[in-house]
Amino acid sequence: MDMIWKTAWLNVWRNKVRSLVVIVSVSIGIFGGVFAVAVMNGAIEQRVDAALNDEIAHIHVNDPAFRDNYDIKLLVPHPQQVLGTVRETPGVESLTSRILLTGMANTAAKSAGVQILGIDPPEEKEVLQLYKTTIPGTGDFFGEDSRHYLAYIGHELAKELNIVRFQIDQEVLDSLAAKGVPGEVLKKLSPFSGQRFKSEKSFKKEVKAVLSIKEQHAFGAVIRGEAWTFRARSKMTLTFLDREGMQTGAVFRIAGIYDIKNSMYEMSQVLVKKEDLAELAGIGRNDYHQLIIRLDDLESTEEVSATLRAHLPGLEVLNWKELQPDLAMMTEMVQKFYAIFMVIILAALAFGIVNTMLMVVLERTKELGMLTAIGMNKKRVFNMIMLESVFLSLVGGVAGMIISQIVIGATARKGINFASYAEGLEAMGYPAHIYPAISTSFFITVTVLIILTGVLSSIYPALKALKLDPAEALRTE
């Protein structure tokens, strides 16, 4: 058997140019496929990560009817008792309680429908890491002691409500100059000096109109960063219905602005202190609508959900897979999609391998005849051809995977920025700055698929070789 392996390996290198064409094509195909998958996979992992760490955590507990329409009256009964039960459940790392209300956020000019989350800041920090996404310079996560009501809002909402604005003045132009933006570009921008733009859209449009495409690409992001202004001490009014169904509300000062690259979440979720909201809405201090739970280990999600369900009859216990079924399904579906994509690429590669192996067999007619004549049995001939084909594809495949790993490693550090599609991607909750990532198990799957391709594409040529009549074959030139 050893002999066959060695012969097959050496045979690969008998016609170097031909083998190299196949090897290069396999490695390019594998690299292209693996890298494309890594980019998609990276985006999805970031999405799942953001959803679990910043947005929803792992498990929610609330009244069974609460999620239907967020009825303010559907508070969790026996709040302290439930809190204690959950806290003592094994596998629960941390938890926090929230009040949820639907309402409107208004500033002088604009208004938007929002969901108001009444939270306990120190506890919330234990469960979710939303606080880490605060945009520098906009404040912090309820750190300041203020006599005002405070609200922590999303970047998209801040832009919508004109709390974040874009403006160009002398100061902006000066700091752009300091950052190496050429005078020519500054001259084009100077007519805007002193102008405050109504929205990000109009800012982008007007700046785009005066700059060339090249300048937009080179300096667009810097200009946007400098023109971005946040009005410190901005305020907004939140209106909602209280427990009695009466319209109420109050003025809230912006404590900070978060940015998680998910426009829908940023647009709709406003965080305020639970004690403030409870007081305004006429809800008891210890009452809450929902418990948000973080687990020690993500893998134990199903197990802990089942325990909680058993301990908390009459309450709805939903884990992240049930809360965002699209997330779990997306991960599953995408994995299938990756496999199909790789199979299509390998199928395309198989055509090249079959052709080459066929050539190999036809070219060695005499040699194969000789081998059979001196007593090599058909099985070994078949194996030899098959091994040659597997080596051919595997060398290319391994090269392709090594290149992919290097490129993924290089791009994963800084990420790839698909800024021009940011709006569309962020609207679906996906980041535009993607860090490619792939699991080791995917490489194993790909390796298996490559070997399979090698084997399958050798069958037809190997059968051809078997059909050779040794006597006939020896006579050919």
Binding site: N69, A112, G113, L241, D326, A348, F351, L358, Y421, G424
Partner: protein, 471 residues
């Protein structure tokens, strides 16, 4: 002609190799065409949904409205101007609208909603909101009745719970969701339709009353005949509030809009916002919706309207969706690029083998006086014929599927459908008919062959007869 004949015969000297190489091109072309057709079809379908159920191709607006959607940024509705706009050759109808945001509530349930003041009669030129009225509703009561009917098979009853509270604008989708085949339909559908029929009332100019999106009605737990309260900010900061009877339920194909839309008669809506006679937009229905015609119309209308108004195009108004589609389009193109790259290497491999195998033959041919130029052109023809075979076969098979698919779009059911809706898309994938994307596949394969041909041509022109004969 002679060259072509020679090239053709040469191809079949090694039939297997020719077929395998053509097959690889066939494979790529087939996949590429099918994928492009599905992508382009889906984009078009989504754009049409957005345009036809919401924005329209063109809108006249107050120049600041798009950036700041407040009631103050409205403009007076002037019939003379409308008449002038209607004179444009490409404008079919002008549809006046008043849209704004409000807080809708039913007792403790509240939600931010999109309020659309419309002229129901005129909307038929664009959003066809009348066609989107809910006709069937699988309400818990309807399901109970269906379950009690002994004539309905169990497999249908089992599916009911999955679609509880779903609403339908036509019987076809209902039949599909319940897994009823066309053969069974005449026996079952009349009964099922009777059980879950849903009747709507009309809204009319001058009569207070609203239509509510199906998802929104579910959220607010409201049905026909119930009363809904709308609170918002009116013209110049005044308070806008009103109470309306729900006359009907609509179901829009875009879930993101279905869960927040409320239709009001235009004049009632203007009164609600204290902005009598004003519009937020005048949507235009066009006769020719091709890009060129649209931009031409845009320029002409822009010339007619006063300076404080502007005309917006659908692409601008649906910018998020356009950006999503572009990202998807690019990722699809990259995938096809990888596929074609792999195939190109396969073709190159074939050429390499072909050349090596026929080195001696080339030598003989040149030795007996064949011009190298002629030899080169035969070789080139051979490669193009291989490419052509692959393209034709790929295009043929793909076309059969695409032509069928144009009339039979893929419609997803069950969980898949749910996921599509969660992302705000209709669970449907349409095919795009045969179009210029076919030409692109040919161009790509052509370029592939051209690159591959470089190697043998170089070999031929550098051929040393003596060496070649010895090979």
């Amino acid at each position: 002609m002679n060259n072509l004949k020679l090239a053709w015969r040469n191809l079949w000297r090694n039939r297997r190799r020719t077929l395998i190489t053509s097959a690889s091109i066939f494979f790529a072309v087939f996949f590429a065409l099918l994928m492009r057709s599905l992508q382009l079809g889906s984009y078009d379908h989504m754009y049409k949904n957005a345009i036809e159920s919401y924005t329209g191709y063109l809108q006249v607006q107050h120049k600041d409205f798009w950036d700041e959607k407040i009631v103050d940024n409205t403009f007076p509705y002037e019939p003379e101007l409308e008449q002038q706009i209607l004179k444009d050759a490409n404008v079919e109808a002008a549809i006046p609208r008043f849209e704004s945001f409000a807080l809708a509530s039913n007792g403790p349930q509240t939600k931010g909603v999109l309020v659309m003041g419309v002229d129901p009669e005129k909307e038929k030129y664009l959003s066809g909101v009348l066609d989107r009225m809910v006709k069937y509703h699988l309400s818990p009561e309807a399901i109970k009745k269906i379950k009690l009917d002994a004539g309905i098979p169990d497999k249908v009853k089992e599916l009911l719970s999955l679609f509880e509270n779903s609403a339908y604008t036509n019987a076809g989708r209902l039949q599909l969701d319940l897994g009823i085949s066309d053969q069974e339909a005449p026996g079952l559908m009349p009964d099922i339709e009777r059980y879950c029929r849903f009747d709507n009332g009309r809204i009319q100019m001058g009569e207070p009353g609203v239509w509510v999106g199906h998802k929104l009605s579910q959220y607010l737990k409201l049905g026909r005949g119930d009363t809904i309260v709308l609170i918002s900010q009116g013209y110049h900061g005044s308070t806008a509030a009103g109470k309306y009877e729900i006359k009907g339920i609509v179901k829009l194909p875009l879930p993101d809009i279905d869960n927040k839309i409320i239709y009001l008669p235009l004049d009632i809506c203007q009164t609600l916002f204290n902005a009598d006679g004003n519009l937020t937009s005048l949507a235009l229905a066009v006769k020719d919706n091709r890009d060129k015609a649209i931009s031409g119309t845009l320029e002409r209308i822009q010339g007619l309207i006063p300076g404080d108004q502007k005309v917006m195009e659908w692409r601008e108004m649906n910018d998020v969706m356009v950006s999503q589609m572009e990202a998807d389009n690019k990722s699809g193109m990259i995938m096809l690029g990888i596929l074609y790259l792999v195939i190109a290497f396969g073709v190159f491999g074939t050429v390499l083998m072909l050349t090596a195998e026929r080195r001696r033959e080339f030598g003989v041919l040149v030795a007996i006086g064949m011009q190298k130029k002629k030899l080169a052109s035969i070789m080139t023809l051979e490669m193009f014929l291989i490419g052509l075979l692959g393209i034709l076969a790929g295009a043929l098979v793909a076309s059969v599927l695409i032509l069928y698919g144009v009339d039979h779009p893929l419609i997803f059911k069950g969980e898949m459908a749910k996921m599509f809706e969660d992302y705000g898309f209709e669970p449907k994938m349409a095919f795009w008919p045969i179009d210029t994307y076919y030409i692109w596949q040919m161009v790509i394969v052509g370029i592939m062959v051209l690159i591959a041909i470089g190697y043998p041509l170089r070999k031929i022109f550098r051929l040393k007869v003596v060496n070649a004969l010895k090979a």
